[in-house]
């Protein structure tokens, strides 16, 4: 039986946790005050929810993803993390789809703005993939990287313990290698697990990323990782790296897209796109939102709420009672050019992490990697006019 370290292990150290002891790890999170959130099967998909014990995880499930398709399938082993990404991402927690910003109460001729102190405790995000860490860091730059810091986001981020899971397989919709965001979790984690299943005992190699991660491991039964275990981790990651279902030429993509804003492909893809907003909802980096005010009937109290919005909505680009982007092609172009090109201008990186969610969850199977290739091909001239 493994003897857990009674003292927190040092940052950078690597340990092995037996599958049978996984609940001990979950218990330790709770003992340290964390609510555990992680992958779970609901309505035929792996989504993120509250995890009480190991059987809340998608034991023995995997996902099969294609353009416009996502299916769960049984695995022939009892892996806990044997899939890639589902329709949820961690923005569900860090940047909730609806959030009250504040309440303003009338006070005589004036008003006072207040917000209820958060009662949320710390959360452990279990099973965060490399591409998702990249996505969280992208949203960090949006909400905390500028002169104005979003206090709600910043608070939730501070209270989150990132317990990452290495991808030991890739879906056909995955292209994190192209975007430089995976498959290896290299940093940005408190703990990272690599699941080893099917070769020797079912176990997890755990690397300690931060003192906060280390303190959770105190008392958890672990043995030091052996060179063989570590070699297996590397080998799994290598395999995943070469199993990417898709690729996207990210080199020079910003200049390419900004130079092709009048490409004929926008009309073509726009004719297929139904502007359902799915891609923006499942995208782990899409941050656009609107605000709305909810007054009470007496007018003495007004709440201001934030809610997810999408650049595919007609009203998104409203200006003086009309919309700037009335056509669907212009809205698809806005989304894709923002994601892959103008994000660099605005936030210093790509807005795409290669997770493939937008590909799988598009009801008509539009594939961002394919669209990037089509725009790369020169457009046929669309009018007799010369380019200025």
């Amino acid at each position: 039986m493994a003897q857990g370290p009674s003292q927190p292990p040092v940052v950078g150290s690597r340990w092995v946790l037996a599958r049978e002891q996984f609940d001990t790890l979950l218990d330790s999170f709770r003992d340290h005050g964390y609510e555990v959130l992680g992958p779970t099967v609901r309505d035929g998909a792996i989504v993120y929810g509250r995890i009480e014990e190991v059987h809340d995880l998608p034991v023995g499930w995997t996902d099969r993803q294609e353009a416009g398709s996502y299916r769960l399938e049984r695995r022939d082993d009892p892996a806990l993390f044997g899939y890639n990404v589902g329709p949820h991402s961690w923005k569900k927690y860090l940047f909730p789809s609806r959030e009250r910003l504040f309440t303003a109460r009338r006070e005589g001729p004036s008003f006072r703005v207040s917000t209820e102190p958060t009662e949320e405790g710390p959360k452990a995000y279990l099973g965060v993939r490399a591409c998702e860490i990249a996505a969280i860091r992208i949203q960090d730059r949006v909400f905390t990287g500028g002169p104005e810091v979003d206090p709600g986001y910043a608070g939730r981020r501070t209270r989150a313990l990132v317990v990452a899971a290495q991808c030991t397989q890739a879906a056909s919709s995955c292209f994190c290698v192209s975007m430089g965001t995976g498959p290896e979790v290299e940093d940005g984690f408190d703990l990272v697990l690599t699941e080893l299943v099917g070769e020797g005992p079912h176990r997890f190699v755990i690397e300690v990323g931060t003192p906060a991660g280390a303190s959770v491991l105190a008392g958890v039964p672990l043995v030091p990782a052996s060179p063989v275990d570590l070699a297996k981790v590397s080998e799994r990651l290598q395999r995943t790296r070469h199993a990417m279902g898709r690729s996207l030429e990210a080199n020079g993509i910003r200049e390419l897209l900004l130079g092709r804003l009048d490409h004929e492909e926008w009309e073509k893809v726009g004719a297929r796109c139904v502007a359902c907003t799915n891609c923006t909802m499942v995208c782990p980096t899409c941050f656009c939102h609107s605000t709305e005010e909810v007054p009470d009937l007496a007018g003495s109290r007004v709440e201001r709420w934030r809610r997810w919005d999408s650049c595919f909505n007609l009203a998104f680009s409203e200006l003086h009672g009309g919309s700037v982007r009335t056509s669907v092609p212009s809205r698809y172009r806005q989304w894709m050019v923002h994601k892959l090109a103008t994000w660099y201008d605005q936030f210093g990186s790509s807005g795409c992490v290669g997770c493939g969610r937008c590909i799988a969850w598009c009801p008509v199977g539009i594939d961002i990697t394919e669209e990037a290739e089509r725009v790369r091909l020169p457009s046929a001239p669309t009018s007799r006019g010369g380019r200025p």
Binding site: L101, F102, A104, P109, S110, F111, R112, V113, S114, T115, V142, F143, G146, P147, E148, D150, P151, G152, L258, L261, D262, F287, C288, H289, S290, T291, E292, E293, P295, G299, V302, R304, D309, C311, F316, S317, E318, L319, H320, G321, V324, R325, T326, S327, S330, Q334, H338, A341, T342, Y344, D345, Q346, P388
Partner: protein
């Protein structure tokens, strides 16, 4: 510079919390446009602002809207906004009377590069309510009149009844060393001023194109055609500045609504150089 404004203590930790202001004065400019002078209710003085910056205003419950500051930047204690009633939020603001409360946060955005004017001829082109973000610049320019060359102001509106700041512009026309051309799209017989669009007034302007800086604010197509006409008279694209408008909802680059190509206009703009905007202004539905 996004904003140097310190959050007020009561608003600490509250995202995008507005401060209460009261309407000190309300002046009807036209049938649908009012100029409001606001006083803070909390005792804090209004934050200093740069010409071209904007505030987020709201009558609580009716939604927030980005409105440029149109007062004199040398008198930041006098917070002045000129608001045209177009949607629900601006209609609610337009109905405010002295003593009413309005929620304000800001100032936000990058304003006009005033210093670009020094030593040059200066052209201002305003269309419609676009005169409002240019007025603080005009105050600042007229205060430093000796530091630059000729000053040409072109202001176009829909009709004589739609002109705002008309009396003040006439005073400036009479008293300041500047040339004002006011033109309207169409007019009745009682109008003896110019009729036509602002681009038609540009050939008439007196300036040395290569040594001119231009500041434009108005409907996008008007700014585009004006910038082209200015270029035609030798003004360099990097010396032409446009105040761009999109649906600014948060003011701080969080919400994504005011994107224009690579820009988040609330954060990177609203004032941007034509040199960068020129290719983008040619793209449809951007």
């Amino acid at each position: 510079m996004s904003t140097d404004r310190e959050p007020s203590p009561s608003a600490d930790g509250i995202p995008l919390a507005p401060s209460p202001f009261t309407v000190r004065e309300r002046a009807a400019e036209t049938a649908d446009t009012v100029t409001l002078t606001l006083d803070p209710l909390t005792g804090d003085r209004p934050a200093p602002f740069l010409p071209g910056q904007f505030n987020m205003l709201s009558v609580l419950g009716a939604g927030e809207v980005a409105i440029s500051i149109s007062g004199d930047p040398a008198r930041p204690d006098e917070l002045v906004h000129t608001v045209r009633s177009l949607g629900l939020s601006t209609q609610a603001i337009g109905r405010l009377s002295p003593g009413s409360t309005v929620a304000v946060r800001g100032p936000y955005g990058r304003g006009w590069p005033l210093e670009a004017a020094w030593g040059r001829d200066v052209v201002l082109v305003a269309g419609g309510i676009g005169i409002a973000p240019l007025r603080p610049l005009l105050y600042a320019l007229l205060r430093e009149r000796a530091r630059f060359g000729r000053l040409e102001v072109i202001y176009g509106a829909r009709s004589p009844q739609d002109l705002v700041y008309y009396r003040q512009l006439q005073e400036w026309r009479a008293r300041s060393n500047a040339r004002f051309q006011v033109t309207v799209d169409a007019a009745g017989r009682d109008w003896y001023g110019d009729v036509g669009v602002v681009t038609q007034r540009i050939p008439d302007c007196r300036f040395d194109g290569r040594n001119t800086v231009a500041f434009l604010c108005g409907p996008e197509i008007m700014m585009r055609l004006s910038a082209e006409a200015l270029e035609g008279r030798g003004v360099r694209p990097e010396a032409i500045w446009l105040s761009m408008e999109r649906n600014m909802r948060c003011g701080v680059g969080f919400c994504g609504h005011c994107q224009f190509g690579p820009y988040l206009l609330c954060r990177d703009g609203p004032v941007l150089p034509y040199r960068e905007l020129r290719p983008l202004l040619r793209v449809r539905e951007l």
